[in-house]
């Protein structure tokens, strides 16, 4: 199970709870890892023991520290960053990455291609205008980048799923 720490600039730190072992009625062991480029690193076993209503933790099951009492917080702090904390999953709709290839979503006709190969485009800039279903669709770049390749030309009629243009992320 993963916990996501996301800051204001959408930077993420992900902590993975790989394994839970209940040793006895007052000792439980967790295995945590830190996700670095999709790889699990910084593995560490953390033991938790309950004593007099308080939770004590240990990294080696020998030396124990008390921890400040916290309920499941939605916000946690690391020195100068405040992170929003999501337990179990990162909510859908938060960030959506897009691929660099722009495909047609429906059959249509290319009305206008206002950019050329090698042109620099910024996020949200219109790169193709398609006419389809009596609507003018402005296809926009989903990130800052450079036009890598254009596969269609103005006036061309296209089917669904045709790759029209490729953008390279800057």
């Amino acid at each position: 199970m993963r916990t996501y720490f996301i800051d204001n600039d959408k930077n993420e730190h992900v902590i993975d709870l790989t394994r839970t072992t209940v040793h006895s009625s007052d000792l439980v062991e967790f295995k945590f890892s830190y996700l670095d480029e999709q790889k699990l690193t910084k593995e560490q076993n953390v033991f938790v023991r309950k004593l007099a209503g308080q939770y004590f933790v240990s990294l080696d099951n020998k030396r124990w520290n008390k921890l400040a009492r916290q309920d499941a917080p939605t916000v946690m702090l690391n020195v100068d960053q405040v992170y929003e904390v999501f337990r179990g999953y990162k909510p859908s709709g938060l960030t959506d990455g897009d691929e660099g290839g722009l495909k047609t979503q429906m059959p249509g006709k290319v009305i206008k291609i206002p950019v050329s190969v090698g042109a620099e485009v910024s996020k949200g800039q219109t790169v193709i205008v398609l006419e389809a279903m009596k609507m003018e669709n402005e296809i926009k770049a989903s990130y800052d980048g450079v036009v890598k390749e254009i596969y269609v030309k103005e006036g061309q009629a296209l089917d669904n799923g045709v790759l029209m243009m490729e953008l390279e992320k800057k």
Binding site: T3, F5, H13, I15, L17, T20, V22, V28, F30, F32, Y34, K42, Q44, V46, F47, V48, K50, Y55, V57, L59, N65, K66, L67, A68, R69, Q70, D71, A72, P73, T74, V75, M76, L77, N78, V79, D80, Q81, V82
Partner: protein
Amino acid sequence: MTKRILIANRGEIASRIAKACRELEYTSVGLWTESEPHAKHLEFCDEWLFCPGETNKETYLNIDGLVKLAVDNKIDGVHPGYGFLSENTDFAAALEKAGIIFIGPNSNAVRLMGDKAISKTLAEKNNIPVVPGSTGAVATVEEAQKIAEEIEYPVLLKAVAGGGGRGLRPCFDKDELAANFEVVQREALSAFGNPDLLVEKFIQNPRHIEVQILADKKGNVFHFFERECSVQRRHQKIIEEAPSPFIGDDEALRKDLCETAVRLAKSVDYDSAGTVEFIMGDDKKFYFLEMNTRIQVEHPITEEITGIDLIVCMIQAAFGDDLGIPSQDWITRSGHAIECRICAEDPITMLPAPGKVTGFETNFPQGTRFDNCIYKGLEVTPDFDPMVGKLVTKGLKRGVALRKMKAALNGLFVEGLKTNIPLHKVILENEKFKSGNYSTNFIKEENPQGEINIEFDHLRFYKMLATIEARRMGF
């Protein structure tokens, strides 16, 4: 009938005043506002009054509103705390007119000391050293050089209209002065629109040292030794110490400094708590800067080394009661105290960082004092002062006080809110700070904020998540 004291303030100082009222068995009355319905200071007050309004202007800065509240609720005395209306003569006058005691100095003293020019003149009249320099703008290099000869180099060329540390240039001899004169004039013109310059003595490695004054309405004026507040950034104090480590064992200097402060306070018939601020250079010569005619944030460290409750005394003085202090010699000091201001701000940029407290716990060494307004759920908004607490430790020696402060900082957990606790920890490890010999250039020169480790502390999060999961499991 016991006296009713209205606390026209909020945050930690409001709790502090309430505690003093409790000691005197007076009724403490706090203000309940809509912007802070769960304020912690109300916990310590005997009564709450609803104070309508959304902004500070409508509540804590509303003279008419507060006076009406006081009159309607049979208030005997109002304590303004610090900031807000604590040095507002209109407020004091309005209360006086309504027959309510203003727990602070008389208006005349506030007026005189509130004006920098008047207070400086008053100081000179009383043979109190002020920063030497030209009385007005200097027109030519020659004039500047003449004054510089009189006051001795190094001198500071200062823009009359300047501020924020700009339009300043130190000159160490007459050639440098000649060379810099026009440069600073041009700078001043372009930055502030006024090319006029002053010449002032340049205090090298200045220390900000202030003396605590407490007087009563019977003509007694006492000093409670000095405090050193040189750890500052953008003119905000971060850490204060009492007594000044720079003055150290130099009792003669200490006596001179404190008696000078008393002399100034007496000259305006001062009758409450106040602080006289000085600037002191490497040569141990001190100069009067200004006087703050109110109780200050850092008063706890003076209380720690003298053992006297200043707020209680302030209230007693205001009502014309006896302070219970027979003489100046009766006031002694012992040991060393240090205060760290805990603020809701980014520890690196020191800019205010509003947020919400999700966890608060303390695990302090014996004798630690933490005047604060923090509780789980506290929302720090941009409307109020970002300072949420003052951490104070004391020891017989400075080293012990520092040791306890380090332990206290390590035992202070505030979660969910950015604070300057990491900055304090780094400053306390700094060699220059530990030596006790540092000036107001400390932050700029030592750059402690650059030493703060901002790496993602995964181990700490592992431990926190482990306890959270354990609790969720029903463990």
